[in-house]
């Protein structure tokens, strides 16, 4: 407790904090911050989990109760079976990881081609891809929806198929930008050396570029998964069949048909998988996120 560990110098120096009065202030502030943050960020989650154990009357009771009077685990099993949460979660992961796969394959290949293979008109294509960053996604919702209904030239309707979620995520100018910039920083010498060894572009990508690009691939992956995970309007439009809906849409559309306590139990269940993933990989996820957005 005595020594404030040496870290990056910040607003207040460690020396200042070591003074007795400052120490008192520091510990007061720290305790307050920990208490308030716990209340603000964990409190609602606590309310969600316990709300799921309350009876239909208790959950609507005024004043609300801090602990469920007669905890009912059956709400959770009702929610699980009536809202088919397993199916909704599966759909969500299916869409998220499919989108991730397509983005990694297509966007990495494209950024690599533009950065290292430099075909004719490569810069024009890059420019057009980056230009899409200027168009807000919401503006394109309507024409994009009309396009997915009937893909030009091919005349296929993607509504209700996972392709309607997967493929549009590839058209992500930000990915191209991040990847291309990273690839640019890989020394040409390495590429040249690989060429002398007789490696083709694919081989070079696989055994030289990709191993060096792990950090940026991590960032792109997190964004890819999180974007699908958070998306609402698009999947609501393109997945009308309740059997194919991701969790956000599925729970919301069924929320009208179930009592409040079962609904809250469903919300709690739906939060478990990602919270678990987050707690297990929080170090990687948080450093990846800050890295990506800071450099982006």
């Amino acid at each position: 407790m005595a020594a404030f560990t040496q870290q990056n110098r910040t607003l207040i120096s460690s020396a200042t904090l070591s003074r007795p009065r400052a120490k008192f202030v520091y510990w007061t502030v720290l305790t307050l911050v920990v208490a308030v943050f716990t209340l603000v960020f964990l409190g609602p989650l606590y309310w969600m989990v316990t709300g799921g154990f309350k009876s239909a009357q208790e959950v609507l009771a005024n004043p609300p109760t801090l602990f469920p009077k007669h905890p009912k685990a059956s709400n959770y099993s009702d929610a699980w079976s009536e809202l088919k949460i397993a199916r909704l979660l599966f759909n969500t992961f299916y869409y998220a990881f499919g989108a991730l796969l397509f983005q990694l394959v297509f966007d990495v290949a494209a950024a690599y081609a533009i950065s290292k293979l430099r075909p004719v008109l490569g810069n024009l294509i890059l420019g057009m891809m980056l230009a899409t960053l200027m168009i807000p996604a919401a503006v394109l919702i309507v024409p994009q929806y009309m396009t997915v209904l009937d893909i030009p030239l091919l005349h296929v309707n993607l509504i209700g198929t996972p392709w309607a979620i997967w493929l549009p995520t590839v058209a992500n100018g930000f990915n191209i930008f991040l990847l291309k910039r990273f690839f640019d920083s890989i020394p040409e010498d390495l590429m040249a050396a690989a060429k002398i060894d007789g490696a083709g572009p694919l081989r070079t990508l696989w055994s030289i570029v990709l191993p060096m690009s792990r950090p940026i691939l991590g960032v792109v992956s997190i964004f890819a998964v999180v974007n699908v995970w958070k998306d609402f309007l698009w999947p609501m439009l393109v997945e009308p069949d309740p059997k194919n809906q991701p969790i956000n849409i599925g729970i919301n559309s069924l929320s009208q048909g179930v009592p409040q306590n079962v609904l809250i139990a469903a919300l709690a269940i739906s939060a478990v998988p990602t919270l678990l993933i987050f707690l297990l990989f929080q170090r990687n996820i948080m450093s990846g996120l800050t890295a990506g957005s800071l450099k982006g």
Partner: protein, 318 residues
């Protein structure tokens, strides 16, 4: 942040390496080799080009065309500026813009400034840092539907948690989502709770990149806490702050999910009808895709204006 390490630029070339090699080979190989390598390169590009083509470039063109068309019973006709006129004369056209701006301003006041100060606070604390960071980021990992519907439950004026807390503290209670005066701010509070984690972490990373000597120098000048924030912290993080500001403005101007889930979209007396919700309403409730596209065009112009203004300002300040 270990992950930020980027391989060094190849500007400093290692001596002894045959650096001219790529150019040299190309000269010898001639045209056919060039064609082949181009074909190869386009092989790598084709997936992305197709996806961009179908889902980005083509819809951009189509958005523009649709704004001037109307489809009735399967027959599409050109209607000139009728769609633009219709949405412009919608009695809630200006309401939607006002709401969107209101959302943006509230989101900036709450969602931009709060995370920044939270980041500064966390950066000063020598203990429990990891715990606090995880806490702040926790809501980001919830599925939006869980966070939003939970807040909807808390906001209920009769049995909701928030009014109960206010009552216990002998403060006046609120109608929250059920009054046109408080609906939008309630949406912003819920949205901020769910998303402030990302911004906080980004600011934290930026704060940690500030060289400590600057603070030491400020200390020597006898600067106080707020003076240091004003003269060191903010200028040093200006790049990140201004970029985040732009990103946040552009993102909040496209608000849909939170208002849709919390107030059903329009909210009390259309007090939460955002422009994007109105686009949705025109397309999927009024079944008028042309007018929806026309409204999208308005939104595009405004956002392009913002981005233009931003790049102009940031150029001037350099």
């Amino acid at each position: 942040m270990a992950a930020t390490t980027v391989p060094e630029k190849s500007s400093r070339r290692h001596a002894g390496r045959p650096v001219g090699q790529p150019d040299g080979t190309q000269h010898r190989s001639g045209l056919s080799r060039k064609v082949r390598s181009n074909i190869q390169a386009y092989g790598f590009l084709i997936g992305a080009i197709v996806c961009f083509g179908f889902f980005s470039w083509y819809p951009m063109v189509r958005e523009f065309i649709m704004s001037f068309q109307r489809t009735k019973r399967g027959v599409t006709t050109w209607v000139g500026f009728d769609n633009l006129k219709q949405v412009y004369h919608d009695p809630y056209f200006w309401t939607a813009w006002r709401n969107t701006l209101q959302f943006t301003v509230y989101a900036l006041i709450i969602g931009f400034i709060v995370p920044f100060f939270v980041a500064i606070l966390l950066n000063e604390l020598r203990h429990a840092q990891a715990y606090l960071r995880i806490l702040v980021y926790l809501p980001v990992m919830l599925p939006p539907v869980a966070g939003v519907l939970l807040f909807k439950y808390f906001y209920n004026p009769e049995y909701g948690l928030f009014n109960h807390i206010l009552k216990t503290l002998h403060l006046p209670t609120s109608q929250w989502l059920d009054s046109s005066h408080t609906a939008m701010i309630s949406v912003v509070i819920a949205a901020t709770w769910m998303s402030m984690g990302s911004a906080t972490l980004i600011y934290l990373a930026a704060l940690q990149n500030i060289p400590g000597e600057l603070y030491e120098a400020a200390d020597l000048d006898g600067a106080g806490l707020f003076s240091k924030i004003w003269h060191v912290t903010i200028p040093q993080t200006r790049m990140v702050l201004s970029l985040m500001l732009l990103l946040q403005i552009v993102a909040t101007m496209q608000e849909f999910t939170n208002v849709y889930l919390l107030t059903g979209g329009n909210g009390p007396e259309n007090s939460t009808t955002t422009v994007v919700y109105m686009v949705y309403q025109y397309a999927f409730r009024y079944n008028n895709f042309g007018s929806a596209a026309a409204l999208g065009l308005f939104l595009l112009l405004v956002l392009a204006g913002f981005s233009g203004l931003y790049s102009r300002l940031s150029r001037n300040s350099d």
